[in-house]
Amino acid sequence: MSGIDTATLWTVIIGLGLGSFALRFAFIGIVGSRKMPEWLMRHLRYTAVSIIPALVAPLVVWPAPTGGEPSLIHLIAACTTLAVGYFTKNVFAAMGSGALLLVGYISLFG
């Protein structure tokens, strides 16, 4: 397939394993009950809701299945998934509706 080389893969597995543990251990193990600066905590609260959308948006606008050509159905499926997730708070309802739209479209017109 796309050929991730073995050295890269294991470097990532080990590095990410250690890094993730360090993140999890940082406070409970080392910082203890000392207070964190409020401005830092305030920014950290928005890490996941910023980084993940920033990762996904280009993948939606220039989707891999079309070779990077913008595609209306992929955009609609993505927006539906986000909207259903937001309104139902249900990951599976969200995932299901997006996938259903895409699969339905591909089997009808694909």
């Binding site: 990410l16 999890r24 910082v31 928005y46 996941a48 910023s50 980084i51 606008v61 998934t81 937001y86």
Partner: protein
């Protein structure tokens, strides 16, 4: 019913955590399948889940490695996605901080979304729990989810290379991420962070080495934090 013994705490944790197997299982399966598609064998996929045990970070790393991003970018991005576990760690510290170091190290390894979410509610509801009872509860919330995640990864990796290309699985990952993000958008500040990050990420994607991800991520975080400050100020101003 108040928890009075360590084993009662364990069983309550096990019961509370059980439904989450149904949530994390399919994502573990999906990770295994996508890892298989990306050319990882079963051992490699399993090592990934075992070493990291954090779905969104694993998906991020896999995606970026497939794009051929430099190792530094892969690590930094996946860790950035996982920064929230550091916040969980900070928030659990007052409750578990007095346990022996090796127990805290074990607890750190299994600090994941659902264990944190269940435990923090439990600890706040029953402030009289001892540290041993809290730890028993915390570990028990993982007792089914973790083996489930590992088993699902292995199953996924085993069937992964048999899934035909035509299924268009390369768009499943963006959808999975979006499905995870939707429920996380609880306040206007979350929305501001999310949509700012999206708006910046598109033009920023011309930057080399996937640096656009960081630029967009950091600007999104600043937008979220700033919105929170404004909202708090407005709230304070509205009071008589």
């Amino acid at each position: 019913m108040a928890i009075s013994t360590t084993s009662a705490a364990f069983w309550k944790g096990l019961r509370d955590g059980a439904p989450f197997v149904l949530v994390t299982g399919p994502f573990g399966l999906l990770f295994g399948v996508l890892a298989g598609e990306a050319g990882l064998d079963v051992i490699e996929a399993f090592a990934f889940s075992m070493a990291i045990y954090a779905g969104s970070a694993q998906f991020t790393a896999l995606q970026l490695m497939q794009e051929g991003a430099p190792i530094f970018i892969v690590l930094a991005s996946a860790l950035a996605v996982n920064l929230r576990v550091a916040m969980y760690s900070a928030s659990l510290t007052p409750y578990l901080g007095s346990a022996p170091l090796w127990q805290r190290a074990l607890a750190a390894y299994v600090t994941v979304d659902q264990a944190y979410a269940l435990s923090i509610v439990q600890f706040e509801d029953e402030p009289d729990m001892t540290v041993q009872q809290r730890l028993a509860y915390f570990f028990a919330t993982n007792a089914l989810v973790m083996p489930g995640w590992m088993a699902a990864t292995i199953c996924g990796a085993l069937i992964g290379d048999q899934v035909p290309e035509s299924w268009g699985l390369d768009f499943v990952l963006p959808l999975a991420f979006l499905a995870m993000i939707g429920p996380m958008l609880r306040t206007p500040a979350h929305l501001a962070a999310c949509f700012t990050a999206i708006a910046v990420s598109l033009p920023a994607s011309v930057l080399p080495f996937n640096l656009g991800l960081f630029v967009a991520g950091v600007i999104g975080m600043m937008a979220g934090a700033q919105t929170e400050v404004w909202l708090n100020r407005k709230l304070a101003g509205a009071q008589p």
